[in-house]
């Protein structure tokens, strides 16, 4: 919980990871390139006081995660959204056993989401059923640019992806977090395009589709589908740290999201350990649309901030919100 100016904020960090990118886990040069890309994101968008040494960034472990989120970071509950990256890392990038173990020890604080890949076809579908049982899954994280053999990506409207989505619906895995990346098959089209999410959201109205980094770098394509599909949500991973480096750009992103979607379909996330949550939460609570941009965007209300910082994700994941920390409905202006 975070308290500022007499207001209490219940915080859900909807996208965190426990990764291992140390050299001994790198399968090839791409493992190194991938974590270096993340580290450049971290270095480019973090305040100087929040920078991590490269060694810490490669692997930080469960204890550090608990401290950064729940001791220092104001977070009440966080959701693991692991990426497998089996073509880059020997034991995968997201550390399944360690993360799931933490979630089992701290069920009040952590939810473990797993991943699936439709290119594993029948075998993967059987695995999904076992994973749903073992992890008690409420959600999954899908990285559509995952490399696998000769294929370097898939779309959500591929026939096998639909069979996995059908299984999710049946198994009660209602929250589908979609993370678009730079590759897709074929390479003819834009890999960041979200029209496949549009189709899936139309055909699976019982599922929530949370598009991570709110469609960036295609904010406009995302907003266009989200305004038409009520079960499409925005995850703020990667968008949040612009609050420091480019606050006016951040104002435009959040302003566009509030215009095209609504305040109930936007979820805070730090994308830990890309960034740490403490400073992002503190900055966001202090944030306001600059005066000279008010023609385009109305000011953000305290109630909207409370929803974005935790109440929206809490509702999606049935996380208990302590009495007094909700907002009266409707939020109002």
């Amino acid at each position: 919980m975070y308290t500022k100016d007499g207001e209490d904020y219940f915080i859900v960090d909807a996208h965190i990871a426990l990764w291992d990118a140390r050299p001994e886990n790198q399968l090839n040069i791409h493992g190194r390139q991938f974590i270096d890309c993340f580290y450049d994101y971290h270095r480019n968008l973090s305040p100087e006081s929040e920078l991590w040494p490269y060694e810490d960034y490669l692997y930080y472990g469960g204890e550090r995660l608990l401290k950064d989120l729940f001791v220092d970071g104001h977070v009440d509950h966080a959701i693991f959204q692991p990426a497998r990256l089996g073509a880059f890392y020997r034991r995968g990038f997201g550390q399944t056993e360690e993360a799931f173990g933490l979630a089992q020890r701290h069920p009040d604080k952590l939810t473990y989401n797993h991943h699936w890949d439709p290119r594993f076809e029948r075998e993967g579908l059987d695995q999904l059923r076992r994973d749903a049982e073992r992890f008690q899954l409420k959600g999954v994280k899908l990285y559509t640019a995952e490399w696998q053999g000769a294929s370097r990506g898939y779309k959500l409207d591929d026939p096998w992806a639909y069979r996995y989505l059908e299984a999710c619906q049946e198994l009660g895995i209602t929250n589908i977090h979609v993370h678009k990346g730079p590759t897709i098959r074929p390479l003819d089209r834009d890999a960041f395009d979200v029209s496949d999410v549009d189709k899936a959201a139309t055909d699976f109205t019982g599922l929530n589709f949370v598009v991570e980094h709110c469609g960036l770098p295609r904010l406009e394509d995302f907003c266009w589908i989200a305004t038409q599909e009520p079960n499409v949500h925005a995850g703020l991973a990667v968008a949040m740290p612009f609050i420091h480096t480019r606050p006016r750009y951040f104002a435009q992103i959040i302003g566009e999201l509030l215009y095209w979607l609504d305040e109930d379909r936007i979820q805070f996330s730090s994308d830990y350990a890309l960034w740490t949550p403490k400073w992002l939460i503190e900055r966001f609570v202090d944030f306001q649309i600059p005066e000279d941009m008010r023609d385009e965007y109305p000011p953000i209300t305290v109630a909207q901030k409370k929803k974005i910082l935790g109440l929206n994700a809490a509702a999606m994941y049935d996380i208990d919100v302590p009495a007094g920390l909700g907002v009266p409905e409707p939020a109002g202006a």
């Binding site: 390139q33 991938f34 270095r43 990346g181 904010l219 406009e220 266009w224 480096t245 385009e296």
Partner: protein, 275 residues
Amino acid sequence: MPADPPPEQAARAARERAALAALDDVLDPELDEPITDLGFVRSVAVATDGVLTVHLRLPTSFCAPNFAYLMASDAKDALAALPGARGVVVLLDDHHDSELINRGLAADAGYRGTFGEEADEDLDALRLTFRRKAHAAAMERALTALLRARPDLTEAGLHGVTLADLPETPATRALRRRRESLGLSVAPAAEVLVDDQGHPYPGQEIPLRLRFARSVRISIDGNAHFCRGLLRTRYPGSAADQSPRPHGTDRTGSTDPTGPTGSSKLRTTAEVKPA
């Protein structure tokens, strides 16, 4: 006083300047900016045997390979078209597909020859998609500037506004160029707010369509600033090779605190690319 360089060396330097100028015409389709302004050209060198070698670099190893290939192959085409070209080598550095793309470029293998079974047809649809986005963004910049200049004008009042109604500014000239690239009319009587095919929108749709064009512009501008910043983080010293983003001049585009500060060391010519 230093002695004049030998004539052969001076000729090589002249060819390097011409090569850089030719690369000014190569755009990053996603960011709608020349690769020279973005700092993506790492080096340009003519060897004693006359072979021109250009190294390109991108903000991350994981920039989309289709866009990476487009820029690299466009660069090679632009350089090969220069008079007196005696061998052109274009190399993309530090990318996850460097090996694949550089092999394809060396063999002039084309998109399908480079990517094999990952390629279905061609990248024409990808190019067209991003020309359309660039046009939408240019349209919004021009119209938002007009709205600010004329407080009497409402968003709904943009219905029927033509190219002749726009002041002669860099934003208007940029819009005309984007229209030409899509084969749309640049006649003074042509309406400004149009769809990808050049058809005006019905009056009641105008505020929504302007709003959508704004989200396109915000997306492109935001990506451009992020990519520029990542390049500077990845390659210390590369800030000096970047020029300020020409159309990031609206009042919502604040200065980038980590933006380029030094003057260009790569750009040997004094000319500045217009928007």
